[in-house]
């Protein structure tokens, strides 16, 4: 064990003297995360930000039905669902939807109230901006739901008339009664937690693992360098177990990895306001991610003959796994790509952090377990392959 620690210590000292560890481990991920956060803000998907949809209403009806509609809109504004702009006519509605200053406009036509009361057809118009399909849908749903209310009252009266239980001359009075009937099915809301990392933490987390691959890769490349320079033979001539050389060098990578990830978590929460969740859970995930990444890089590097070859292979694996996890191009949630992405340890680190964001430390355990499985599987094979590769 003592030999492992000595080798690790020596490697650490060497790597700290070479400033690239600081650039790759801390400055690079922070700088990129800062830029990504600046550009994407909260807008990578609909995660993290509450959204207000901007709807306009032009009420040229001037009757009681139009007024009732305005009341509905006011209550939606009070609930914080939408932001409302009052427009003074169809032309204004068209113009506002056209230039995108509102997402959608609802136009209540002239004579709508009269038509509804008389049981005739009338048309509410929803004009949506082409780039605001969701707002358009919500506006149309508000209008449809309102229209259905009016229609249901008419339908009730028509049904009563058809079954002959009421007289036609009472229809007008009955309409008021019918429209006051309570709904038979109501909607009860449940507020779900958000098990998703908010944008700034997502970028720091994704990018720090990406750069972690390169830090982790250095342990095996440094072994290959020692072999080329002949110092490896001297190391092997010493009375120490062969595996302790790789273990020592990997330990150095693990230590650097944990330190750099920890610094990143702390710095990003201080300067970028990133929220990471329960610190104990974050610690577990950091440990799991670093072990998994070091294990994978050791195995990959062990297939190489020269340090340059190892660095190339490792870079390819690092970029591929990071791409798969959505670090560079975030995936739409729920799709095929987001399922494929679970092949990459990066994704499990991100998923664990997401689960943690909406819960307690124990919520990080499943992802931690998967990361440890990656670490054990790749690490054990990696040790064997690297051990063989050590023959001078």
């Amino acid at each position: 064990m003592h030999a492992v620690w000595l080798i690790a210590k020596n490697d650490l000292a060497l790597r700290i003297r070479d400033r690239s560890v600081f650039i790759i481990g801390i400055i690079a991920p922070l700088a990129l995360a800062f830029i990504f956060n600046l550009i994407f803000g909260g807008g990578i998907s609909d995660v993290g930000d509450t959204i207000t949809l901007h709807v306009g209403v032009a009420n040229v009806d001037g009757g009681p039905v139009g007024e009732a509609f305005e009341e509905v809109m006011d209550s939606l504004v009070a609930d914080g669902f939408i932001e409302l702009t009052v427009l003074d006519g169809r032309a204004a509605a068209q113009a506002a939807a056209d230039d995108g200053s509102i997402g959608a406009a609802i136009v209540l036509p002239i004579g709508m109230s009269d038509a509804v009361i008389a049981g005739q057809d009338a048309n509410i118009e929803v004009i949506g901006n082409v780039d605001a399909p969701t707002t358009t849908q919500i506006a149309a749903s508000i209008a449809e739901q309102f229209a259905l209310g009016a229609r249901t009252a008419n339908l009730s009266v028509a049904t009563a008339l058809a079954t002959g239980v009421v007289a036609p001359q009472d229809a007008f009075a009955l309409a008021a009664e019918a429209s006051a009937a309570p709904p038979i099915v109501t909607i009860g809301t449940v507020k779900a937690a958000t098990r998703q990392l908010e944008a700034s933490a997502f970028f720091v987390a994704g990018l720090s693992v990406f750069f972690m691959f390169f830090i982790a890769g250095m342990s095996i490349t440094s072994m290959l360098e020692e072999r080329r320079e002949g110092t490896l033979s001297r190391l092997l001539a010493a009375p120490i177990a062969r595996w302790s050389v790789i273990a020592g060098k990997s330990l150095a990578s693990v230590i650097i990895g944990i330190v750099s990830l920890t610094v990143l978590v702390i710095v990003s929460s201080l300067i970028m306001g990133a929220e990471w969740g329960n610190p104990f859970g974050v610690g577990l995930l950091v440990l799991g991610a670093v072990l998994a990444v070091v294990a994978i890089m050791t195995l990959v590097g062990a297939f190489a003959k020269t340090p340059e070859q190892a660095a190339n292979l490792q870079a390819i694996v690092a970029v591929t796994l990071s791409m798969l996890s959505g670090t560079f191009v975030p995936f739409a949630p729920g799709g095929l790509l987001s399922r494929i992405s679970l092949l990459a340890p990066n994704s499990w680190f991100l998923r664990g952090l997401g689960d943690l964001a909406g819960g307690v430390a124990a919520d990080a355990l499943p992802a931690f377990g998967v990361l440890m499985a990656f670490a054990v599987a790749f690490g054990s094979v990696g040790l064997v392959v690297a051990g063989k590769a050590m023959q001078p």
């Binding site: 780039d131 709904p183 870079a315």
Partner: protein, 384 residues
């Protein structure tokens, strides 16, 4: 002639490097494909529905699907659906109680559960669900009304069904207004041009490690020892970088056109952007090669600079979606001008004459970078 042979050696070394195959030829296409895949799916919010068989549930699901505003995904486990909502795999979820038909048949009222996160469009989708519920309820409400007036339940239900088709209706008509931000854009178009710009610059910068290596190994000094002027060496290196960046650009342009049918607009315009931006990439590579001493450090900074500038220049999120401040910042990156030039060519059918401003600014970037780098290279070589 010496300039050309120095350039040729650089290009050959670049093409022989085995990692080139992945980073230059495979990776860019992979990313363009991934971005394209993002555009192929629907952008509709996904609504989970937990339902057991039943007339009301079937009607409700049908209405949600026909509404066109959401994509419906059916679930049979409530916890599973809740977790999907929490993980943002779903925008919201609807729970239809199993005994709904029975409760309604007995004249009772029921509650449909709606779950959403506080963020995203989930809360607003409640309106969409409420519309579908109101639609599915109308005949039952009408039947009950008639029954309350003394009608036979079965006769009332039949009458409600018949009246539903005949009763005067307040309809909702929809129209679309405005000019789409990304009109005439193919699935892979935006990804291809933005990644073209990103990768040309990235390949240029990461290639700068070779310049540093040449200096470390003393190759540059040895060249200077032969009867070759320093200017020739610098120009040769720069031309080599230019050839490499241009190769990357030509490859992405050609491969995405063949594989994904990407439209690059006016060919002369596209060629002009490609050439001028190659000069920018070459200039940046020379700058890195001239100023850094350690190729590992240069590699780390190169990745950050290449990806960071590309992001700021609109290669990750289109410039049109930037805030006003950020749009101003973007103007300081050559990438923004290249992306803007491609936007003009591809989306607004511009020709070379329309993008002279963009080409001019990029050329200015290239000249400035090459001038600083050459001056520095000159002093580095002569000093050694």
């Amino acid at each position: 002639m010496k300039i050309l042979s120095i350039a040729r050696v650089n290009l050959v070394r670049f093409l022989r490097d085995r990692s080139t195959v992945f980073f230059v030829f495979v990776l860019p296409l992979g990313i363009v494909m991934l971005i394209g895949a993002q555009f192929s799916g629907s952008f509709l919010p996904i609504l989970g529905v937990l339902a057991t068989d039943g007339a009301f549930a079937d009607d409700l699901i049908l209405r949600l699907e026909d509404g066109g505003g959401v994509e419906v995904k059916l679930f049979d486990d409530e916890d599973d659906m809740l977790l999907s909502v929490e993980r943002a795999n779903l925008s919201a979820g609807v729970v239809i109680p199993a005994d709904l038909d029975e409760v309604l048949a007995n004249g009772g009222s029921a509650e449909v559960g709606f779950m959403s996160r506080p963020d995203g469009v989930g809360p607003q989708l409640q309106v969409v669900v409420a519309e579908a519920v109101a639609g599915a309820s109308e005949q039952i409400i009408a039947t009950r009304f008639a029954v309350s007036k003394g009608a036979e339940p079965e006769a009332a239900a039949t009458a409600a069904g018949e009246a539903a088709a005949a009763v005067g209706t307040l309809t909702v008509g929809r129209s679309v207004a405005g000019e789409a931000l990304f009109e005439n854009v193919g699935q892979f178009d935006i990804g291809a041009s933005s990644q073209l710009v990103l990768f040309m610059f990235l390949t240029g910068l990461t290639g700068s490690a070779v310049i540093i290596e040449n200096r470390q190994l003393g190759m540059t000094t040895r060249m200077a020892g032969t009867p070759t002027s320093v200017l020739t060496i610098v120009l040769g290196e720069a031309l080599g970088r230019f050839a490499i960046v241009l190769t990357q650009g030509l490859y992405i342009m050609g491969a995405t056109t063949l594989l994904f049918g990407v439209n690059w607009g006016d060919p002369w315009g596209a060629a002009a952007v490609l050439i001028v931006f190659s000069a920018v990439g070459a200039g940046a590579a020379m700058l890195f090669g001239a100023f850094f001493k350690n190729d590992q450090q240069a590699g780390g900074v190169a990745i950050v600079a290449a990806i960071g500038l590309a992001a700021l220049g609109g290669s990750m999120l289109p410039l049109e979606l930037f805030s006003d401040t950020l749009k101003t910042v973007a103007k300081f990156t050559p990438h923004a001008w290249a992306n803007e030039a491609f936007a003009e060519l591809v989306r607004r059918d511009a020709v070379v004459g329309d993008i002279l401003l963009q080409l001019g600014v990029m050329a200015a970037f290239a000249v400035a970078l090459l001038a600083i780098a050459s001056w520095r290279m000159h002093s580095v070589i002569t000093r050694a």
